[in-house]
Amino acid sequence: MGLLDRLSGLLGLKKKEVHVLCLGLDNSGKTTIINKLKPTNAQSQDIVPTIGFSIEKFKSSSLSFTVFDMSGQGRYRNLWEHYYKEGQAIIFVIDSSDRLRMVVAKEELDTLLNHPDIKHRRIPILFFANKMDLRDAVTSVKVSQLLCLENIKDKPWHICASDAIRGEGLQEGVDWLQDQIQAVKT
């Protein structure tokens, strides 16, 4: 079963494909989340290029996902930024237990939101405050405070606490995202 079945089913009525970018620092839980979301029939390809950063892509009937780690020191930045243009929705994953790197996540988010291919577009952003099951995890309210999400005025956004391993909190987020995409499409 896949949580996206309903979402892709609805969208499947229309012929067009929706590209979703799933971003976040390395180790935040993106792969785990996407694996939970994947419909059973989705074809997954794992691309590990030699240049030093990895992109995962998979497609369901009407959704295509591009997942990548926002890691590294800028040498490959323009490579992943290349994908911004085609993204129509963003899932941004945060490791709520990594207090030290919350500033790095914020910095990456700020850079993302200011990218010319993102800045002036009203694309929905779904935040997963992931790993909420861990002892050192901070609440999703605290995460949104630390990332200053209240300053995002020109894009619809939503934050959910999640535990990607047990799949908790993912449905809520996906439901929200689905509403947003539909609102744009109709």
């Binding site: 800028g74 207090r99 030290l100 850079t111």
Partner: protein, 593 residues
């Protein structure tokens, strides 16, 4: 504890996001209660889970409760007391087996405590030193009750003062006791043999036989007994022993122990000694003009900080390359290695709270900490490369993360040539004339120079002659004669045909008035008419300006003008004291009429 990230909330635009800083404030805990130096900090993936931990050999407040702390992110993971103050902390790979988690070594007192997976694994103690036979003899006498504690104390003090070999810890402790405690101490210790042990002052690691990042390493120890020891990473036996002329306090090693290595030891005598694999004694030595306070190796350059507030660079053969003065005393130094950009720089913690980052002589960046930084460590922490850990004198912990987009501009600091030096000057093109001239100058340089000099001398001669002539004929408006120092200047007013001529006469002597002067006008009587061409000057008081007025009538109806000469004379002398030529203006009044 307060994470500093909340502070810049409300400013999302990156251009205003304190654009100047290259650092993200990840954590600041003003009451972390960590008191340590750079040598007692180490970063390593101690659990092999990809999450790098921070090892701290903590002195405790006031150097009281020394502790070994291991931090994960902003929080202390484990904490255990140490028997003595820590001297250095290091992490290293001990063996080839999987999983390749690094071991932790902490030098404290005469021992190195080795931990694996944060569990005590091995304790290495420095080999004991031969005791002083005199000291042993005295204790033997005490053992046989031949001397009382007071005599023992006197004899030990005597030995302490005279002998070359220092006393054992047991004797030193005894000498500190009060009279009442001595008896018990002697009874307790008199039958034990005297043991003399030195302590570890510094520690580092050197790769054993491979240069790889994850190759096994040996521990290198410096001791208070002026020795360097290299330990086997598995058996902890002493592989090599080197002696130094002084006590080493900072060590830097490059190369591999089994192949070839270069070891630099900064010592308490203000000298850095450089040893090689084949040398049991120093091969080169760098004499500093002050005590070393830090030693960092950047590739082949040794950077030494001294108590004279300067940073000095030396080659590995001891040749001095440069010196950079610091604005305050240096407290600590450490290496900054930004792998992704291949940058190696030196971080210097100063007493004024600044942390300066230098690439050779060039200042790359300055971080201002709320308090003087006493320890610095840069590397991978948690899951983030390029994390900077600082602790301050007051015991606070500051963690900063280098922005992933940050680039240190080589000449961004105040060092380096001024920008004007690189702007291109608008030089004229080399013309044919220029080239010809240059060729001529090259060929006939001497002759040209001589001709020029001749002309210059002639010019000077002519000027001097004219001056002398003017003086002789008093043709100048300033009289320099000692008796009548005078100054004269004249003003002509009016459009004509009637002009007003005013002579300003001034006695420039300091005290003496001048009497008996006459003024005489010489002029062409066909052109001008003056009511009085010759008159007496009143007494001239020193310093005052005397305006003497007279009218001049222009008689010419063609508007032509001439010179009127003014002579200032002394009664009874024919040569004038001074003279002035007044160029009369043409009469415009007539032309207009």
């Amino acid at each position: 504890m307060a994470a500093a990230s909340g502070s810049d909330c409300g400013r999302r635009r990156p251009e205003s996001n304190d654009a100047g800083s290259k650092w993200l404030d990840a954590h600041y805990d003003p009451v972390a209660n960590i008191h340590t130096f750079s040598s007692c900090l180490a970063l390593a993936d101690l659990h092999g889970d990809g999450e790098f931990k921070l090892v701290v050999g903590d002195f405790g407040p006031g150097g009281q409760q020394p502790r070994l702390k291991v931090l994960k992110g902003p929080t202390v993971l484990t904490e255990s007391p140490l028997p003595a103050l820590p001297a250095a902390a290091a992490t290293f790979l001990m063996e080839q087996h999987e999983p390749r988690t690094p071991a932790l070594a902490l030098a404290s007192g005469p021992c190195v405590y080795v931990y694996k997976n944060l569990r005590p694994y091995f304790k290495f103690s420095l080999p004991p030193l031969p005791p002083n036979p005199l000291e042993q003899d005295v204790w033997n006498q005490a053992k046989e009750d031949r001397i009382d504690p007071l005599t023992l104390k006197e004899m030990l003090e005597d030995i302490r003062e005279k002998a070359e070999v220092p006393l054992s810890v047991q004797s030193l402790k005894f000498l500190q006791l009060e009279l009442s405690e001595m008896e018990a101490f002697v009874n307790q210790h008199k039958s034990k043999p005297i043991k003399r042990q030195t302590v570890i002052t510094t520690m580092t690691t050197v790769k054993k036989n491979l240069a790889d990042e994850d190759a096994i390493s040996c521990l290198v120890l410096g001791t208070e007994s002026k020795e360097l020891l290299v330990l086997d990473p598995e058996a902890f036996t002493v592989l090599s022993k080197m002696s130094l002329p002084s006590v080493p306090v900072f060590l830097e090693v490059s190369g591999q122990f089994d192949v070839e290595f270069r070891l630099a030891a900064a010592c308490r005598n203000g000298t850095v000694y450089i040893l090689r694999r084949d040398s049991k004694h120093p091969k080169y030595c760098i004499e500093l003009s002050a005590q070393p306070v830090g030693l960092v190796r950047v590739h082949k350059i040794l950077v030494v900080g001294t108590t004279q507030d300067s940073l000095q660079g030396f080659t590995h053969k001891g040749k001095k390359l440069w010196t950079v003065p610091m604005p305050a005393a240096i407290l600590t130094m450490s290496l900054l290695e930004q792998r992704s950009r291949g940058l190696h720089a030196v971080m210097v913690g100063l007493a004024n709270g600044e942390v300066r980052i230098y690439h050779d002589k060039a200042l790359l960046n300055v971080i201002r900490a709320p308090d003087a930084v006493t320890s610095l460590c840069f590397g991978r922490y948690g899951r983030e490369d390029n994390t900077l850990i600082m602790t301050t004198r007051g015991g606070s912990l500051i963690i900063k993360i280098l922005k992933r987009t940050a680039v240190f501009a080589e000449w961004g600091g105040e060092a380096g040539p001024p920008p004007a030096q690189s702007t291109k000057l608008n030089m004229p093109r080399k013309t044919r004339l220029y080239v010809d001239q240059t060729l001529r100058e090259r060929e006939a340089g001497t002759a040209m120079h001589r001709a020029f000099q001749t002309d210059l001398y002639l010019l000077r001669l002519r000027a001097a002659r004219a001056y002398v002539q003017a003086l002789e004929s008093s043709l100048n408006p300033v009289s320099a004669s000692a008796r009548e120092p005078l100054k004269l200047h004249a003003v002509v007013q009016g459009l004509g045909p009637t002009f007003k001529l005013t002579l300003h006469l001034q006695n420039t002597s300091t005290a003496r008035p001048i009497v008996g002067l006459l003024v005489c006008f010489l002029y062409n009587e066909g052109l001008y008419a003056l009511p009085c061409a010759f008159f007496k000057v009143p007494l001239l008081v020193p310093g005052l300006n005397y305006p003497l007025e007279t009218f001049v009538e222009s008689l010419s109806d063609k508007g032509s003008s001439d010179v009127i000469k003014v002579l200032v004379l002394r009664e009874g002398q024919s040569a004038p004291l001074l003279s002035a030529h007044i160029n009369m203006p043409a009469s415009e009044g007539l032309a207009a009429a």
